[in-house]
């Protein structure tokens, strides 16, 4: 089979969906090549046109080509409008996997469309207008155009069912839950934490990630803790983050050890996970929750919001709190800190839970799924 892979989002500053595209593409290639599949990587995809493709995912193998890499935006737009009017994609792939929410018209290939989440409809304040207008158009295009659907979690499939009841069944569209996994190798064993090992929050600063709750909880924690571990926020500036930034500055001014590390590159992020005391995931909403599964793989105890996909991913390994209650989070933080035995237990449970997720396993099931289409 010839398989097209949408790596358009990997060319820009990467967030969850882009990491998913990158990691799953690599895993699909790794699993697929031995089975005789060949691959095309698309660095522009439908309406997703990049100014610069140099940072996009590349896989060095003669059986993996990247026909659109380096194409300038005008030419890329022209290319996709020709595809829409009947020009086959180079290499004429049998199946094309979309990861970027885009659903171009592909008259000669089967489109498999990945649904990351439906927050843009379910929680309108958690999506920018830009995101909403693109996602709602493209998702509906996918209904008209895609041969199959991937959902990054069972929860996302339920959200889809909530807004489009019975659609999958009525239109007999095959679908598969294709969960993510950690991008970093799992820790061999739980690591004991240093006395100054920080609390860690990973995710860009945007309303959905609920950094405000983490900061409020941290303030409470700091009042009552004897160790007063620092708090580290890793993630790009996102959007609508002025209030959180102001709160951050205020806490820093009062001398609380809170640090915003900004956008953190891969290698540094692995080190952050490795050196942290525990991971906090206070999000209001997640489609999957890549940081959570990476925290599990790093052998970190995880305190996560009880919303959306997070309990599905964290299973019994993580402890949950209501995201509207910083007090509950603070209490959980203090409890974790004050009972070293409990931390060790949780860390072991995290590692155990992380074994349920692997890119190779997901890639294998996706390949089987596409073969059946």
């Amino acid at each position: 089979m010839r398989i097209g892979l949408d790596v358009s989002q990997t060319c820009a500053e990467r967030a969850g969906c882009a990491w998913y595209a990158d990691a799953l593409s690599r895993a699909l290639v790794a699993e697929g090549l031995p089975r005789g599949h060949t691959f095309e990587l698309y660095h522009h995809f439908g309406g997703w046109i990049n100014a610069d493709t140099t940072r996009g995912t590349m896989i060095d193998d003669p059986r993996v080509t990247a026909p659109l890499r380096g194409l300038n935006p005008a030419a890329a737009r022209e290319f996709w409008s020709e595809v829409a009017t009947g020009e086959p994609l180079p290499g004429k792939p049998d199946v094309v996997l979309s990861f970027s929410f885009h659903a171009p018209k592909l008259p000669h290939s089967k489109l498999v469309y990945t649904v990351h989440d439906l927050a843009f409809w379910l929680h309108p304040d958690f999506a920018t207008d830009d995101t909403r207008l693109v996602c709602q158009r493209e998702l509906l295009q996918a209904l008209a155009r895609a041969a199959g659907f991937l959902f990054v979690s069972e929860h996302t499939r339920r959200e889809f069912e909530l807004l489009l009841p019975n659609w999958l069944e009525l239109h007999s569209r095959p679908n598969l839950v294709a969960p993510g996994a950690s991008r970093f190798p799992a820790a061999a064993a739980p690591r004991p934490a240093a006395d100054n090992a920080p609390w860690l929050v990973v995710g860009s600063l945007e309303p959905r990630k609920n950094h405000a709750a983490a900061l409020d909880a941290y303030e409470l924690y700091h009042e009552h803790s004897s160790l007063r571990r620092p708090l580290v926020l890793a993630g790009g500036p996102g959007w609508k983050s002025a209030a959180v930034s102001a709160r951050l500055a205020e806490l820093q001014q009062r001398g609380l050890p809170v640090r915003h590390a900004g956008y953190v590159a891969d290698a540094d992020l692995a080190a952050l996970y490795a050196g942290a005391f525990a991971l906090l995931v206070p999000s209001w909403h997640e489609g999957f929750g890549l940081p959570l599964v990476e925290g599990l793989a790093a052998g970190l105890p995880v305190l996560a919001s009880e919303r959306a996909s997070l309990p599905e991913v964290g299973g019994h390994a993580a402890a949950y709190f209501p995201p509207e209650s910083p007090a509950a989070l603070a209490e959980a933080m203090l409890a974790l800190e004050n009972e070293p035995a409990s931390r060790a237990q949780r860390a072991a449970a995290s590692l155990e839970r992380s074994r349920a997720f692997s890119w190779a396993a997901t890639a294998k099931s996706v390949l089987e799924f596409t073969a059946r289409l």
């Binding site: 830009d130 509906l140 807004l163 659609w167």
Partner: protein, 683 residues
Amino acid sequence: MVQVSFILPLYNQLAHTRACLDSLRATVPAELAHEIILVDDGSTDDTRDFLRELAPPHVVLLNDRNRGYAAANNRGARVAQGEFLALLNNDLVLTPGWLQPMLAAFARVPRAGVVGNLQLNATTGALDHAGVVFRDGGYPVHVRTDPDDFAVAGLAEFPAVTAACCLVRRDWFLRAGGFDEGYLNGFEDTDLCLRAREDGLINLVALDSVVRHHISASPGRGAHEFRNARRFLARWAPRTAALEREWNLTAARLHAAAAARAYFAPLHRRLGLGAPALRRAHRRALAAVRQARLARTGRIRVGVDLLRLQAGGANGGVKPFVLAFLAEIGRQRGAEFNFAVLAPADVRDELAAVLRPGDYLLEPGDNIFAVRRRTREGWRDDGTLPATDELPARAGLDVLYAPFGQSQFLRPGLPSVSLIVDLLHRDLPAALPAEEVNHRHAWFTQVARDATYFQCNSRQVVGRLVENYGVHPAQCLVTANAVQGRLPAPGALPAGAPEEPFFFYPANFWPHKNHEALFVAYRLYALGASSRAWPLVCTGHPDERMELLRELRDGLGLKDRVVFLGHVPDAAFAALWARAGALVFPSLCEGFGIPLLEAMRFGVPIIAANSSALPEVAGDACLAVDARDPQALAETMRRVAIRTDLKEALVARGHARLAAFSLAHEAGRLAHLLAAAARRVAP
């Protein structure tokens, strides 16, 4: 018993106050039982020292701070004991015999409400007030001509009079709640007079009472004009517009009658009644009267840049709005305005219905504009004009109106009015291609610099324009798109329209119209309502995106429930309104939203997004919903479709709200702005 309580609010200007009090004491009839109530409104000069020395009949009240004209008078009225209140500005100079004719008016006319008098400019001696009428869409203006024509035995009735010098009955004034303290030094008196009319009273000018007035010596008047006018128009606009029309008719009749009388007198003597020569002379006399009126005001040539106008519905709501406004201005002020419309040739027929004989059409060609003059028979070629920057001067334009916002002929030196209908490129840039956002930003920047005034179709747009482009609010006029009356009586339903009630969404297929969320919501609603579900009807200019939305509809499995009718002619469109079960208007960004008014007119309940200008226009006559949220939208659709009481309440509220939207009124205000810009006077 005290007959008259004189009330003078004071704020500085001690010299005026002294002169006014001197003239008052000198002219109060000796036998009149009276008191003089002086309300100091926080003066900072020597006024307070002066007041300390006063003895009865003076009564002195001191406000701790400046509370404004209305509050000061109201405070005086509360302590007054007289049967009448004489409200006086402190910059009046009263002349002998001024009071008696005003008092006599109450004796002669039991229904007298507020009685004013003639006021001369104290500096120039010119007549400054002989009553207040409404003009230019319901704004109060002073009558400054001799009102003898309207007088009966020394009294003339006017819709309102100024309170600079006026007499009211104390018990009525207090019962009516006095002046409205929501105004700040302006419009209080007109507001009071209109309330008197509501109570069945009439407002009079006593023509034998003459005083002198130091015009605009009172400080703090202009500062709140914008706010005051808004408050006044919000409360009175439809009625003042009606009073304006009534007044214009009366004035025209009286003028014509007087002119004819003057002309006929010698003819009567020479020819006797009924002769053909007399009838001819009669006609000539009337024509002369019309001509004289025109000569007094001068004709204003308004250039209208409609070069972006397209045939059919591609322009969206702007087109019906502009055409209706131009037609209405022509109807109201045809003799005063002459239009020169720049527009492509393929909309000539549509403009023929709007323009009047004598108006011009300038059609673009290769480096020239072909000039066509509208005649009763059709169009007559009238040469060409070069398509250069000199066009406005060569075409003799007094003012340029740019209904599409930008115009290549906008220049700082040329008076102009730009219509701004939304700031979509700022409020929802995601709905436009990036190059369109940049393009719009560039021309908004230019228009904000070059246009004299901005016509905005909601307060929301004014706010966004002020915030984004630094335009001064005083440059902005809000006119509602009150074009709900443009549609004819319902004709036949267009082919493909459902017979049963349906959800109706008339909107072009632009991304910000949010059809996608509506479709998902509609599917949720339809699954819940099963066989009783109303269909959904979408109209709009057919384009590529309509084809896309058709594909999305099919993908959702809604092919037989959601109908696309394309652009529908007016009579069929009206038929759709007459049949619709509810308007659903989930647009993410609107500067106004004409369908809201059309729904109100046709008695159709409204569901609308709770953002941009929609809440301002729809008020309580709609169910507001977060249109980004398909579940919320679906639930609202379900409620409207099944709950008869809710439907009826929404329709009733819509009907009541519609009274606030009058095309005559809104177009009158635009005409006023255009005329003011053309004459280079403040509107």
